[in-house]
Symmetry: C2
Subunit: 151 residues, 2 copies
DNA sequence: TGTCTAATGTCAAACGTTTGATACTGACGT
DNA sequence: ACGTCAGTATCAAACGTTTGACATTAGACA
């Protein structure tokens, strides 16, 4: 037989779980983006708003870790959202040059509107899969996170 | 009761399926990127190589659709990979200024090495979940794609 | 045959993010 | 009390991608 120390790349390499994961994520992200565009909001803006909403008073650097982006990217987003009056930067009580991030009333209003349309996508998925499989999907996805985190 | 025409954004909004999907995709993508960096290859390069490998002779615009990016992004990637001698652009037999994309032998070699480490991530997931749940996950993800595509 | 349309490829500019480097602040230890 | 260190914020530059626009080409239809 011929030398095959290097096994060839199979034609079914695109049918992997990780590719299905990527396709699904792209499709969901596109669906969110499409719905949010009508409200003049980007997905990254929505992600920032809902994260600050669920945990008010976060520092920019800490927020960057949660969003999986760099602190500079957060600063850029905050600057824009602050210009729209949806986010405000308060001075940290103990550390002076650290700034706590909070939502303004306008920010909460914008988030409510955005979350309504994003929740539609979530509901769309649950309707198609059923409640139990959807929950199972969520559990499997969390397991995937765990599996690839520690190596 | 108070006015609640606008329902508040629940604190459990981050526990949705779509967020678990995003977290898992980011984690998997990060794992791939980390392993591919050692080979001096970006995830986008790997994605292009394996797509061209599975379907040789694709045009740039068609390839862009499969990768969910713009034709310019593909042109940029192809230019770089062509500079490395991993991809070549042949003239389409019928259409003159359309260029078929093919892998060179060096490209196939690089793809083999890259695919080996990417397959490790896939195996890592299958080991953690088990074969049957992994396949079920893949099926559920495909259902998610279908669910959000048509609206 | 001539024109129209759809599709491809490429150029230039704008955008958002990352990378690298710097300044500042508060806590901790010897 | 003082120096060291970790964490935060900000600036400048580079990178990769998208957006918009344009030239080219082949097939379709009259």
């Amino acid at each position: 037989m011929t030398r095959n120390e290097e096994e060839p790349v199979g034609p079914d390499a695109l049918d992997r779980v990780t590719w299905a994961l990527r396709r699904a994520e792209l499709a969901v992200q596109a669906a969110k983006e499409q719905r949010l565009r009508a409200l003049g909001m980007a997905v990254s803006h929505y992600a920032l708003l809902i994260t600050v909403h669920s945990q008010p008073g976060l520092a920019g650097a800490e927020l960057a870790r949660r969003l999986n982006v760099t602190p500079q990217a957060v600063a850029s987003l905050v600057a824009r959202l602050e210009g729209r009056g949806q986010v405000e930067r308060r001075e940290h009580p103990r550390h002076r040059h650290i700034q706590e991030l909070h939502l303004t009333e306008a920010g909460r209003e914008a988030l409510r509107a955005a979350d309504a349309v994003v929740a539609e996508v979530e509901q769309q998925i649950k309707d198609a899969l059923g409640a139990a499989p959807a929950e199972q999907l969520r559990a499997l996805l969390d397991e995937v996170c765990e599996a690839v985190r520690e190596d």
